[in-house]
């Protein structure tokens, strides 16, 4: 592909160097060629994509150019898409055709993007390896024996494999940043409330946030502007103004960022990851950043608190999947209780059931205070740690994951080990902060990610720092041979 980024694609379409239809066909062919193996897609919407591309070409010929006119994109199958199967990676919704569009989908459609299809994911976004999907595991394009991470594994793998230029994801405990790190691309999780959650199938409502996968930080800047903003349909979405992230990133203001590195993020790192990380730190120092050691005392409790709050909310959020109005309905049931029991037993996979059980327990009478309430208190402490840190530093830096990707099957029978791959990502969800993972090197030919955490609604400075780093490095333009 001669165009290496979203920005190059948008420029080429605008200049009519290439039509939206040509571009769409190119990517659809890439998907045909490579996805049988990678398994990034649950649904490819070929016909709709071609017809939308023609529509956009017509508009362009009439001089109508929208912010993202003609840009092909893949949508995580957690976003409801009108008239198109929206499975959330689950047998439960294998037959579900959404009657409406999620706000993110609506905004991207209106901005002129061409949806190529719906991407594979861990079932109901519960997983860190994309192995819990009803539609089978997704493969890491750098080495197909390895996982791409999860839960947004399909979206990440597809962008890394260059079979789509960009995609959407959702991040509840690291589900954008962790797969971005493992696949060697950019993954941005905005501030909680920056992007509407309406139409995004809920896993843990107080943690879920929609975000983006791209190869270049500037691409994420362009896309973020289009999906952000208050949505009257989501009471938790924010009124804070949406800046022009792209222009902020490319303007020439020298920004001498003060960057904090928490001890808690680097103490237990293995030598390879540590080396890549400090190489990245050196580059940032080279462009004028000041580095400061900081402490996030309670961040070590993040995974524990997360594993109470997220299952608790999920146990309630997933109650609507009862076989009554939509989704899987067991044909073995003859009473109401059997209808619930059989439909849910058949429709949900093992990890989803595990979390529903844990969450139900955590909210039960007599246990609520000991688990849910205590986890919320830990959450407040973690948030307080970050707030204190941001009094002294502009951004916080660390590795995204403790290690490179693991092998398919390696952690499937060890949920605790699986949960720990989110150890550096969950605290930002608990605190509602924005964070981004960008590639910072390789270990054994598998990518490693650098995580940049910002203060609430400070995506612009995260993006700017990532852009400045990517001007000095070429990790993000290296492509897997798949």
């Amino acid at each position: 592909m001669q165009y290496k980024s979203v920005i190059e694609i948008l420029g080429a379409i605008k200049k009519k160097d290439i039509s939206s239809s040509e571009l769409t066909r190119y990517y659809l062919n890439q998907i045909k060629e490579k996805d049988a193996d990678l398994n990034c897609f649950i649904t490819v919407t070929e016909e709709a994509a071609i017809s939308k591309a023609q529509e956009i070409d017509n508009e362009i010929s009439k001089g109508v150019i929208k912010p993202l006119s003609g840009l092909p994109i893949a949508q995580k199958d957690i976003f409801c898409t009108k008239g198109i199967k929206t499975s959330c990676g689950s047998k439960m919704l294998d037959n579900f055709i959404s009657p409406y569009d999620a706000t993110v989908i609506e905004k991207l459609n209106n901005a002129g993007t061409i949806m190529l299809g719906k991407t594979n994911m861990d079932e109901f976004a519960m997983g860190s390896s994309n192995e819990t999907s009803f539609y089978g595991p997704v493969k890491n394009p750098w080495d197909k024996d390895y996982v791409p991470g999860g839960s947004s594994g399909g979206s990440a793998s597809a962008v890394a494999a260059r079979i789509v230029p960009c995609s959407t994801g959702t991040d509840t405990g690291g589900s954008i940043r962790q797969p971005a790190s493992l696949c060697g691309i950019c993954g941005l999780k905005p501030t909680y409330g920056r992007v509407s959650r309406y139409g995004m199938i809920a896993f843990a409502s107080s943690l879920d946030q929609a975000g983006l996968f791209t190869t270049d930080a500037l691409d994420a800047a362009v896309l973020l502007k289009e999906i952000s903003g208050h949505d009257p349909k989501d009471s938790t979405s924010s009124n804070v103004d949406v800046p022009d992230y792209y222009n902020y990133c490319i303007n020439n203001d020298k920004k001498a960022f003060t960057i904090g590195i928490p001890d808690e993020f680097i103490n237990d790192l293995n030598e390879d990851v540590k080396k890549s990380f400090y190489d990245a730190v050196k580059i940032l120092e080279g462009i004028g950043c000041k580095i400061k050691k900081i402490k996030l005392e309670h961040t070590g409790l993040g995974v524990s608190a997360y594993q109470v709050v997220a299952p608790a909310e999920c146990s309630s959020n997933l109650s609507r999947f009862d076989g009554v109005r939509f989704g899987h309905r067991s044909d073995k049931a003859s009473t109401l209780e059997e209808l619930y029991r059989e439909s849910r037993s058949e429709g949900f996979g093992k990890e989803v059931k595990r979390r529903i059980l844990v969450g139900t327990y955590a909210l039960s009478a007599g246990y609520y205070d000991a688990y849910y309430l205590k986890a919320q208190k830990v959450r407040n402490l973690i948030t307080q740690d970050f707030n204190n840190a941001f009094n002294d530093v502009d951004l916080i830096l660390g590795p995204t994951t403790p290690d490179k990707a693991f092998k398919i099957g390696e952690k499937m029978n060890d949920p605790i080990a699986m949960y720990l791959s989110d150890v550096y990502t969950v605290s930002t969800n608990l605190a509602g902060l924005p964070a981004m993972s960008i590639p910072m090197g390789f270990k054994d030919k598998l990518p490693l990610g650098l995580q940049i955490i910002g203060n609430h609604f400070d995506e612009k400075n995260i993006l700017k720092l990532c852009h400045l780093y990517q001007k000095e490095t070429d990790w993000h333009i290296q492509e897997p041979n798949c």
């Binding site: 409801c80 309406y198 809920a202 009471s235 938790t236 146990s315 009554v324 109005r325 989704g327 039960s364």
Partner: protein
Amino acid sequence: MWETVIGLEIHVQLATNSKLFSSSPTNFGAEQNTQASVIDLAMPGVLPVLNRKAIDMAIMFGLSVDAKIADKSIFARKNYFYPDLPKGYQISQYEHPVVHDGKLSINVDGNEKIIGITRAHLEEDAGKSIHDLFDGKSAIDLNRAGTPLIEIVSEPDMRSSKEAVAYLKKIHSIVRCLGISDGNMEEGSFRCDANISIRKPGEEFGTRAEIKNINSFKFVESAINYEVERQQDILESGGIVEQETRLFDPKKNETRPMRSKEEANDYRYFPDPDLLPVSITEDEISVIKQYLPELPDVKRERFIKEYTLKNDDAEILSSSSELSDYFEQAAKTSTSEIQLLANFILSEVIGLCNKNNLDISQATVSPEDIAKLNNYIGDGKISMKQAKEVLSESWESSVSVDQIIKKNNIEQISNPDLLTNVVKKILEIHPKEVQDYKNGKEKLMSFFVGQIMKETHGKANPKIINQVLIKLLKGV
């Protein structure tokens, strides 16, 4: 020797145009599932957005029962599975309800009593399961799902079914007066659960039974009376009252078990992460206070003072704003004694409403015409009997009372000179009766009145007839 202890939980459907968390309409009786949006159907990915109007209505209620209004109120999820509960949880309030610590005074047999109101919180109604539409299958109608309710929880302060009914009626008249609910009990807009226990006076509270979903004042009384007797029988025969939820069957006039304490759901309440805490400012509260209508109790006192009405009549006339508006509209143009006007409205107009199954707001005779009729009676222009006839004809035909009086030539002869001639004539043709009367058969008075009425086609003023008769009979 037993003391009854009653607490009520009243569910009041709020008269908002749209649902508590979606923009679907809330009309009653629409075709099944036509008022259910993707949000009411709990489609994957949808989110609730609070209808702030419901908060205002809850505040109005709170201010009317002297309650505290929370500055920060929180919605919580009440989790349980039921087919007419689409999300698998009901959005309700647990900690931090909008309204708490209120009170209300009731009057039973002339005794005033204060009933504490623990809290009033907002929640969404469930849909309906219909079991008799398809053979062997249940159907779900989600039109009602998401309709806003306030649940008003009393302290266990009531000691008899009469007090419970008085309290319930008082709440009913308040929510109707505020215009926050139509209070229609048949359509389920106003229903209550009763917590009932008995004890020996001075002892600890006994074990309670909760009677669910009672939807008429009469049933509340019957259910409580039945339940008290049932518990007395158990305790007096040495048994133990089980803590359980029971249903009232109005056909058999009994309560029967629905579920025991062990079968009770663990609702796993937790704050709904889809909704922000609601903040309520002093400014908002004072604006609402400013527009609060006059409440029934205040109105009753005013009626007694301003119109010198009897307490019982003032109580009834102030119980609904439609009725009090009608009364006050009539009172404006009344030239006779207002108590007589009140009597006329309460017996005649309400009588016609009840007979025709209409609400006072649907009365076909205007309050101005009612005032006229009453003024004419007072002036002696027409008799009470004539007034009732005119009212009845006007009610049927919607022709104004003046036109009916004119058309039918209805008037009362009150001129003593005119009547003297008639009386003389009647006495002349009934000499025997005159003699008998004079001999002490005073009952014959009504015979003479009847004859005179007949002669005047009922137009004679009975008061004047009496005066003239007595004068002539004693004078002859």
